[in-house]
Amino acid sequence: MQNNIPILKLGDFLLVTIQMDVHDRTALQLQDDLTNEISKRRSKGVLIDISNLEVVDSFMGRVLSDIASMAKVLDAETVVVGMRPAVAMTLVELGLSLPSVVTALNLERGMELLTQRLGRKGNG
């Protein structure tokens, strides 16, 4: 249980920074923890920072897209930020375009995007 990925609360959002390459089990644990956290804190948005990841395989890709869909069901928006060019190229070559995942260049842009999206939702 030492290897759990920490989930930080940041106002209305949750911030997950994936620091190193993760095992499949850790990824599934994150999925579990994150959904619990969202419902407990009633978060409106989730930011997943993968700027330290050098490899995103098909499993990780699927977990990311699953997390996004699960968060959606729990009424939270997910933005994946900081994907490296090499990772983006690999994913595309693998045929994974992650259609259900919203992406942003860096954390700052991700925050901007979330605020914007939530504002629009609030108004409408």
Binding site: P85, M89, T103
Partner: protein, 280 residues
């Protein structure tokens, strides 16, 4: 070869001057290298050639020929760099055959004449092939280098506005170029923190299934990095082929011209271009 050696040692300078004059008289030769250079190259080479023949080995892959081949390599490169035609470079070696033949015919009339002629022919031909292969090798190096340069040069990424990148693609988009284009674009997105990327295909002569596939991948990768991506400069003909080939460009936003793509980008950023009213 022994026989040749005997003949040569008797009249080295004679054969050499004969050879040089043959080179000079050759009609295909434009001799764009200086006369004294030809003479000194020929002299140096001939010395090494005689020494190699003296070793008695007829196979030019034998270590005894190493020096001769090194010299020949230098000559081939020297001539290649000065833009001499392949035929001219080959003549350098092949004219040696005639010079040697004449010596054989003049002085060496014997029953083994045919045999001697044959061994000279084989040896000189091998040298000729060697010189040609070096010449072509060098040419291919040049072509390869130019190809790489072309690849680098032809995929610039331009910053049109704060956060808006344009990537004009010129020429056919094959796999290796598509890779370079994609890498260039993704790196530029990080570098300029771009929100929007426009891929302009005005300079792409034709789009086939492969090109469309590459474009689709590039767009998807850019979107994974959090940038919006437009394809601009789709010409009517290209639009027709895309539809006729039944290509699915579902994931792409296409625009007719770079201008309309740029306008759309400004809209997305909440900017607009206004005319300045000077009169007021």
């Amino acid at each position: 070869m022994k026989k040749i050696m005997e003949l040569l040692s008797g009249d080295v300078s004679g054969v050499l001057s004969k050879w040089i004059s043959l080179q000079r008289n050759d009609e295909s030769s434009s001799l764009s290298i200086p006369e004294d250079e030809v003479v000194s190259q020929s002299t140096d080479f001939f010395k090494l050639f005689v020494r190699a023949v003296a070793s008695g080995k007829t196979d030019i892959n034998d270590p005894a020929w190493d020096e001769t081949l090194t010299m020949l390599r230098e000559v081939a490169i020297y001539r290649g760099q000065r833009g001499l035609k392949p035929a001219e470079t080959a003549t350098f070696v092949l004219s040696l055959k005639e010079a040697l033949f004449e010596v054989l015919l003049e002085k060496g009339r014997s029953k083994n004449l045919l045999e001697d002629l044959w061994s000279v022919t084989v040896c000189v031909d091998k040298l000729g092939l060697f010189v040609m292969s070096i010449f072509i090798e060098k040419r291919e190096d040049v072509i390869e280098r130019q190809q790489e340069e072309l690849l680098e040069v032809s995929t610039p990424v331009v910053e049109l506005w704060d956060g808006v990148l344009a990537l004009p693609v010129i020429g056919t988009l094959d796999s290796s170029r598509a890779q370079v284009v994609m890498e260039g674009l993704l790196d530029a997105i990080v570098q300029f923190e771009a929100k929007i990327a426009i891929i302009d295909i005005t300079g792409v002569p034709a789009v086939d299934t492969q090109t469309a596939q590459h474009l689709l991948k590039t767009v998807t990768a850019a979107e994974l990095m959090g940038a919006e991506c437009y394809i601009s400069g789709v010409r009517p003909q290209i639009a027709q082929t895309i539809v006729q080939l039944g290509l699915d460009l579902g994931g792409m936003q296409t625009k007719g011209s770079l201008m309309s793509a740029f306008q759309q980008s400004l809209n997305r950023l909440g900017l607009s271009i206004q005319k300045i009213d000077n009169k007021g």
